[in-house]
């Protein structure tokens, strides 16, 4: 579901962070700033979330969501992987807007 500014609502979920290989909270802060015009981060259990982003501290990506939810889910397991997600998101937005 898009808000009035046409932003994508992304449900945000962290893994538990038992041995995070990078600063997960810092990464999300950066993502919020970089995607401020395009994305509104909401709680993962928000009904408004169009997709779910799970920020995992390592490659095991052990977080599991309630099986009942039917939204696309994307795990990011490193800052590099997060950049790939940003690229995918922007490509998808360009496709939708016909640009």
């Amino acid at each position: 579901m898009r808000d009035r500014q046409g932003k994508i609502k992304v449900g945000l979920k962290y893994c538990g962070g038992c041995r995070a290989q990078y600063d997960r909270v810092g990464l999300v802060t950066t993502l919020r700033e970089r995607l401020a015009d395009d994305v509104e981060f909401v709680a993962a259990d928000s009904e408004d979330a169009e997709m779910i982003l799970i920020v995992s501290g390592c490659s095991s990506a052990c977080t599991r969501l309630d099986a009942a939810h039917d939204r696309p889910t994307r795990y990011v397991t490193s800052p590099e992987d997060a950049q790939r997600w940003v690229d995918e998101l922007r490509a998808d937005m360009r496709g939708r807007s016909g640009r």
Partner: protein, 485 residues
């Protein structure tokens, strides 16, 4: 959601308890505010605080299998292998955030062990312990309580059984049976976090025989029940906490504690009794609790994370971080620490479902993990002290550093680099001191040795559980002694 308390609410809940606590021969009127006890309260409070943080909640919280509500994992009964793995990860996480014993795992382990044994007793004896237990569990979950899991009796003469001791109180036992409950006497030693707990869950400490059936009891009580007295154990360097918030305490935020808990004719209502003279189930309860609790030593991996971080930092402060032997020691510390992590993950990943529905760790692997914990932290601590250098134990006090007379000399002669404040160097050394021979060494070293059973207890279990005959059979076939597999 049930009542998922935050740190402040937890502290306030403790203030309502009327605990009978003694330390240094005097009654402690407000344990929460006592400077020696308070850091340990902070560590338990962290288990509440982090449950509310989005970046930790996936590990710290879970859905109750009884109510379906979101609860703190420390009150959860494991419903899957994933739950067991998350429990190990939670131990590492909290150890890495507090660098001490956060005290709450022992109650979780008692709850899980009792969920299995009460079910087993009912199946054989037609009792209703499991129904009682589940009602109690729901109370614990709904109120997000911290429970002390109390197993270790003083044990008196180790060569004599409970019934043969010259003082019957050396093991917790029934002294009176009433229509509405039982009266018990005895004590529990080394009780981690007892004074920070809302509840105390008592279990037998060893296998009981028929003669010992008065000692085969399990029950839960509010921690401030009439007749319970807590006598605080003291720790190396504990009185540094009376010197104010100086950096000599090493860890400025957290700590742990243990207490001797005495039960002097304490009444227990029947609805809180979970085992009563069913001595043949004492072994199962003891071994399952021990297996869960041996898994819980995942926390030492987290404390190891902090110690490794401190060792690397002091190496950099000293300008020694590029020396090949220092780099190799840091590698060795990490190798040992991650090996410990392997064990606590493995025993969880190989867990299984018990008839009660509770998931239990692989008992052999849990014992192997704990056996490693009796050794590796000592080597990690030795390497940290090696890298730290002797100043860790010869450094003048914070008061000297602040002295208008000698402070300038301490600052001048303990400085290493222009961009490293002397105070920072001393602080990191004090943290290493705290973990390896100060108050936190109680948890990181000696508790690693004896907590959840001393090394020999694990070796007995390893001997019992390993399939030695099968190993011999294959060896004999492969070298041609036997012609068939």
């Amino acid at each position: 959601m049930g009542k998922l308390m935050n740190a402040k609410e937890y502290e306030e809940s403790l203030r309502k308890l009327k605990l009978n606590v003694y330390m240094f021969g005097k009654k402690v009127e407000s344990p929460v505010d006592d400077p020696i006890i308070r850091p340990s309260m902070n560590a338990v409070a962290a288990t509440y605080e982090f449950a509310h943080k989005p970046e930790y909640e996936d590990i710290m919280t879970v859905k109750s299998h009884i109510t379906g509500k979101k609860i703190n994992r420390f009150t959860h009964i494991h419903q899957s292998v994933d739950d067991l793995v998350k429990k190990s990860k939670m131990g590492r996480l909290l150890g890495s955030l507090t660098a001490c014993c956060f005290q709450r795992c022992v109650g979780m382990d008692a709850l899980n062990a009792l969920s299995i044994t009460t079910h087993a007793i009912d199946a054989k004896c037609g009792t209703e312990y499991n129904k009682r237990f589940l009602k109690y569990l729901e109370y614990v979950q709904e109120n997000d309580l911290t429970c002390d899991g109390a197993m270790t009796d003083p044990k008196g003469d180790r060569s004599a059984s409970p019934a043969k001791q010259f003082d019957p109180d050396f093991f917790m036992h029934v002294v009176e049976e009433r229509k509405d409950g039982i009266v018990v006497s005895g004590a529990k030693a080394h009780q981690t976090g007892a004074v920070n707990s809302h509840e105390i869950i008592v279990m037998p400490t060893i296998t009981m025989r028929e003669d010992d059936k008065d000692y085969a009891i399990s029950f839960a009580l509010p921690s401030d029940a009439q007749g319970i007295t807590y006598i605080m154990g003291r720790q190396s360097c504990d009185t540094r906490k009376l010197e104010g918030m100086t950096f000599d305490r090493g860890n400025m935020h957290y700590g742990g504690h243990e207490a001797l808990v005495v039960f002097d004719k304490v009444f227990v209502p029947w609805e809180r009794v979970f085992m009563y003279k069913e001595y043949e189930f004492s072994t199962q309860l003891v071994e399952n609790f021990a297996a869960y609790h041996r898994q819980s030593y995942a926390c030492k991996v987290g404390v190891g994370d902090v110690l490794i971080g401190a060792a690397q930092t002091v190496a950099e402060y000293n300008g020694a971080e590029k020396a090949s032997h220092v780099k190799d020691k840091i590698v060795e510390m990490n190798h040992l620490n991650e090996t410990l992590f392997c064990g606590c993950i493995a025993c969880a990943a190989e867990g299984h479902k018990e008839p009660s529905g509770t998931y239990l760790v692989d008992v052999l692997l849990a014992n192997v993990h704990k056996q490693n914990v009796t050794r590796f932290p000592y080597e990690i601590a030795r390497l940290a002290q090696d890298i730290a250098g002797g100043l860790m134990v010869t450094c003048p006090s914070a008061a000297d550093f602040a002295s208008p007379v000698v402070g300038k000399w301490v600052d001048k002669y303990l400085k290493t680099k222009t961009d490293v404040p002397t105070e920072h160097r001393i602080r990191i050394l004090r943290l290493i001191e705290n973990i390896t021979l100060g108050t936190a060494a109680v948890g990181y070293l000696t508790e690693s040795m004896h907590g959840a059973g001393s090394p020999q207890a694990q070796r007995i279990m390893i001997t019992r559980l390993v399939n030695l005959k099968q190993k011999q059979k294959v060896a004999k076939y492969l070298c041609g002694i036997d012609k068939e597999r």
